[in-house]
Symmetry: C2
Subunit: 339 residues, 2 copies
């Protein structure tokens, strides 16, 4: 038999109306059976739920959003999904949001502030809030968006906006102490993206701790965080006279490892390497000494902050700034200073 549907897409989705009809009540009652059951006689609720179940009724979120102004959606925007640092955070956000009954939009800004801004603007009218990971946008732009929707930052420190910061300074300082304890006297810091909050934080921690312990510290630039950049930095690293390096992140550190291996320099026998973020670090050989990341926790915490704020009807809580501290994880790429 031919399809007798009026439209192309056979969207015979049952509505609140059909449920009402089957249950023999009004549409209002059906609505209340789901949103305010305590307002109804228990047997009425049961009757409605039963009808709904039989019809396979699923409430239409668009309609709900239209009348309530709440969407049940969050958006997470990241600078680069491909950076291995990010997926665990996304995963945690998704999990936590799901548990709180939210679905999550994912946006990828490709490190471009303008793109990020555009994304937020397009997402705003269908989400209840945002999680912005390592946002690249200007402070004023972020502030403007925060006015339109509740917004939580990860690894970006703006006063007055709730934020979760992974304090790698502590872990990096431990790495420096660890290396000093192994007898190293001259240390290199291989830096990451120039405008990154995390890079500034780590560079400072290396410098300060090195100074305190009386080490010589040289800082080497790396254009960006990548394996190749790390490998290419090995020449400068060796010329610098350092016997150990702390790299901005694990990607760089792994590049350094590869570069050293190519030149036949043994790790940790002749050179020590420490990374940061604990990303795939246990999976290199030798396993990389690094600073734990806690990216998952950061994501989960951000969503908690967001949903609790949404629950409380947007009552702005006082300035929230969560610091997650980190510790060094010693594996096999650091050892005593070569003699």
């Amino acid at each position: 038999m031919r399809s007798s549907e009026p439209r192309a897409a056979a969207r015979s989705a049952p509505t609140i109306g059909s449920v009402a009809e089957v249950a023999g009540v009004s549409r209002a009652t059906v609505s209340r059976a789901f949103t305010r059951p305590q307002m109804l006689r228990p047997e009425t609720v049961e009757k409605v739920r039963d009808a709904a179940r039989r019809l396979g009724y699923v409430p239409n979120p668009a309609a709900k959003a239209l009348s309530t102004g709440r969407f049940g959606n969050l958006a997470m925007v990241v600078p680069d999904i491909a950076n291995p640092y990010i997926p665990p955070m996304i995963s945690a956000v998704e999990e936590q949001a799901d548990a709180a009954g939210f679905a999550v939009f994912l946006g990828n800004s490709a490190e471009d502030p303008a793109r990020e801004d555009l994304l937020l603007r397009k997402l705003t009218p269908q989400v209840d809030g945002f999680v912005l990971a390592a946002s690249r946008m200007g402070e004023d732009v972020i502030r403007r968006h925060a006015q339109a929707r509740p917004l939580v930052l990860v690894n970006r420190d703006i006063e007055g906006i709730p934020r979760v910061l992974i304090d790698t300074a502590g872990g990096v300082a431990q790495a420096v102490e660890h290396l000093a304890g192994l007898g190293h006297r001259r240390l290199a810091y291989l830096s990451g993206p120039p405008h990154s909050w995390a890079n500034a934080q780590r560079r400072r921690a290396v410098k300060r701790t090195g100074d305190k312990l009386g080490l010589e510290v040289v800082t080497l630039p790396a254009r960006l965080s990548s394996h190749d950049a790390g490998r290419q930095a090995v020449g400068a690293l060796l010329e610098s006279g350092a016997t150990a390096v702390v790299a901005f992140d694990d990607l760089l550190a792994q590049g350094v490892l590869a570069g050293l291996a190519e030149r036949g320099i043994r790790v940790p026998g002749e050179f020590s390497v420490a990374g940061c973020d604990d990303v795939l670090a246990a999976q290199t050989f030798p396993p990389l000494t690094t600073v734990s990341a806690r990216a998952r926790e950061a994501g989960a915490t951000a969503v908690e902050l967001l949903t609790s704020r949404l629950g409380s009807g947007g009552g702005a809580m006082s300035d929230v700034r969560v610091m997650l501290d980190t510790t060094l994880v010693v594996r096999a790429t650091t050892g005593p200073r070569p003699v």
Copy 2:
């Protein structure tokens, strides 16, 4: 001064009504100025657009969705974001969807078919279509969802449902030929997730090609795709008497590399290792011989299929099955059979 807003959240978002008022036209005209401008006098369109711009008007997608039944959203559901194979695909999907004017929901099923089903059910009422990567759901369940919304599969082969398959069989066969050419006579295949389409495909390709070339092939199980599983498989690998291994994917291969290194077995001097997917493979040391992945292309193609189908009003095209073939990338973990 105190806030004089009626509600807690100051949502003074301009609506079609306010634009109409400012422009001095009816709401219908404002709507048409955006959706059917050719229906209006050009100067009217200009007048309306101008008013909208001044007010910062952004159409409310929930309202639009409610009246049109179209949402402007897609959903991508993956089994595990943390698997490095996935992010590039997500990234491509996001990019392509964005270009076509869609926002994308991300869902993570955590390899659990029931969770995946639930996710789809919850997302269905606010998306126009789905991209399912390596779905773990039963064929009948997938078919049911495909009835509710257009749906494209990646790396899952179900007749009648549009799908994009990364044909690693070709690349894997090349890997076997490569190893045979290097003199290896006994070969191991280290298998991946038991219910995975990709695993079956690869295992078959190794077996068939090995048989053709007169090699002995042993298949070793690995519970899942992980670094640890690979490392733990090294014992069985060595006992098997093989001199080379093709692993289900790069994660496993890298685990094998680590396990071999721990035992002081040189690669490729004493043992050859090939992976699959080209994920971080260039970043190990030595760089891994592997089969190229094309995950990005798969994602992009899936979205193209989806959007073109959405554009054509759901007119079901005939059975679509896109195969992306792959090739071997020889790097430094494969060498001549040890003597």
